[in-house]
């Protein structure tokens, strides 16, 4: 049980790192535009975990002040992530709108077909 106890604190961060690596990998490796945007949102979600995991105190409660509770988890990272989620959604919406327009203008949303030399340097 002890190995799990001292493994636990770092487990959170390793999962964050794994999510970040997979998010970045999708964005860099995959050519499909919608897939890239999904990867981008994965990459951003891993950042939320990075903000939140130090915020939790074992046995603490959410930061809503109530009579019986003393230990609260830190409220500031919650505010920051609320902003980050909204920014993520705004970028996603814009990316999707661009994908729709690109699909109409070029007829395909595969990055490899779009970046052929004859298109970009005609």
């Amino acid at each position: 049980m002890s190995t799990l106890a001292e493994l636990m604190p770092l487990y959170n961060y390793w999962i964050t790192i794994f999510l970040m690596i997979s998010g970045l990998y999708i964005v860099v490796a995959r050519g499909n535009m919608v897939k890239k945007l999904v990867g981008l949102s994965l990459f951003q979600t891993s950042v939320y975990l990075l903000y939140l995991s130090p915020g939790k105190i074992l046995g603490g409660t959410p930061p809503i002040l109530a009579k019986g509770f003393e230990i609260y988890s830190a409220p500031l990272p919650h505010v920051l992530i609320l902003t980050a989620i909204v920014v993520g959604i705004a970028t996603l919406a814009l990316g999707l709108a661009l994908t729709v327009r690109i699909n109409e203008a070029f007829g395909s949303i595969e990055e490899d077909e779009l970046f052929k030399p004859e298109i970009t340097h005609d």
């Binding site: 487990y11 050519g31 919608v34 999904v38 939320y48 809503i64 109530a66 409220p75 992530i81 949303i109």
Partner: protein, 173 residues
Amino acid sequence: MVLLTLMAVVTISIIRVRNLFSVVILSSIYSFLMASVMIVLDAVDVAMTEASVGAGISTVLMLGTLYLTKTTETVPAHSPVLPLFVAIGTGAALVYGTFGLPPFGIGNTPFHTHVSAIYLGSSIPETGIVNVVTSVLASYRGYDTLGETTVIFTAGIGVLLLLKRFSKSTKDK
């Protein structure tokens, strides 16, 4: 931390699956898992936002886009080695960074004691709002929320500029 391993499994499947339709559904599952992890991490406000925004609206938007574009992805053309290297490089930098971070559930780190403690202490006397997150969001750091609303405003105007059919004018080919 079973939830976190579940999320890892979902992420691997997102990478492998090629049918975009299921990728979108998987990403909404991923957001719901993320929301439940946040509840475990005592971040209730954020869990609600992640669930409603992350899973709800983004799935609607993605499905809307898929409806207008293709739903299957082509076979990846070039070898995945270089991107893997880039991703792992960034991950290694982060692993290097997290060793010094305070362990998981300990309370006396500067993370808690410095500014957050002041918010917890002064929220009731100064603003009378019980939910500290809302009081910080709206009054202490109200300017961030103004920036946030402007971000939403920009995205709204941007998407409308790109997609909206203006007075039946032909799309500029």
